[in-house]
Symmetry: C2
Amino acid sequence: MLIRTSCRQESFADSIFSVRSPEVLTSEFRARSLKVTPQRQLLFRLLHGHTGHPTAEALYAEASAQMPGISLRTVYQTLNDLVSMGELSSLQFAGSSTRFDPNVDDHHHARCDECGELRDVYVDHFDSLLVSGFAGFTPERASIVFGGVCADCG
Amino acid sequence: MLIRTSCRQESFADSIFSVRSPEVLTSEFRARSLKVTPQRQLLFRLLHGHTGHPTAEALYAEASAQMPGISLRTVYQTLNDLVSMGELSSLQFAGSSTRFDPNVDDHHHARCDECGELRDVYVDHFDSLLVSGFAGFTPERASIVFGGVCADCG
DNA sequence: ACTGGTGATCGCATTCGATGCTAATTCGCA
DNA sequence: TGCGAATTAGCATCGAATGCGATCACCAGT
C-alpha cells in the first residue's frame, strides 16, 4: 500500500499526550457529584503521563502494586466514568480486550499483526479523501487503523 | 467534520459485493482437503448475495430455519474457516459481537452510533493522506470506520 | 469538627460471545 | 464399497465485562 509519511513525529515527541492532570480530573469528578476516592486518585495518577494503551487488567496490576486490595471492579468503574466524561477513549480490536487510550487528541492508530502493539499516528489531509456510499448517513467522526508489522516484529 | 463525497454509489449499486459463489467455495474447500458438508453448503448459499454484515448468531438463525438442528458451533467453525481462507472478513466493534463481512473488496465502513447499523463505503484518494508517527512500523493495510447517524436514526 | 446522606468499593454471581473437547457420524478418495 | 480423516453437535469451559448488594467513606452543610 502507498502511504505518504511525514517527519512530523519529532515535533510530536516533544508534547506528551495523556489524560488531563489528576487535579483537573478531581474537579471534573466533583463537578458531577462524583466522589474523589483514593482509588480514583491513584488511577488518575497512573493514567496521567501514560503514553501507552493499557487494558483494564494492566491498570489493575499497576494499581494493585501501589494499593493492594483495590478491586478490578473499581478499576472498570472509574475507567468507564472517564470514558463517558470524554477524558479517555476506549478501543476495541479482534482477539483482545478493550484498551483505554489516555490520548484524547485527534489521532489514529497503527496495530502490529504479530504482537498487537498499538501506536498513535497522526493523519493530515484527511479532507482530501473522497468517500462514496454514505447515502443518507451523516458522518461525524472517523478513525483509521493501520495494520502491519512493528519494528520489533519486522 | 469535512468529508468530500462522490456520487459513485450509483455505479456500485449495480454490482453485488458478496462472498464468492457456492461452487467456487466448494472447490476452495476441496482444494484444502476440507469437506463440503450440507451444513457448509447451506452457509455458502446464505452468504452468497448477502449484502449486510451478519453476526454468527444471525446466520445461525437463518440456517436453522432451513436446517433445524444445525449447530451454532458449526456455523462458527465454517465462518472461521472462510475468514482464514480470505473469503470473508470479520469486523469487531465495541459493545457488539463479531460481524462477518461477505464483501472482501477494498472498502471501509460507516457505523450508526444509535442503532449500530453498518454500511460499506468506498474511499478514493487514500494515498493523499499524510501520516506521521509510524517510526519503524510498516503499514500493510488500513481500515477506516466512520461514526455518525444513519438515515433512519437521524 | 461532626454528621447525615449519597455515592463508592469490593467480591461474588452472572452474562455473553466464542472456543475446547469428544463420541458418533459422514465425506470422499481409492 | 470401504476406510481413514474430517466434521458435527452438544456440552463444558473460558475470558471479558457487568449486575448486585452489604458495607464503607467522601464531603457538603451545619
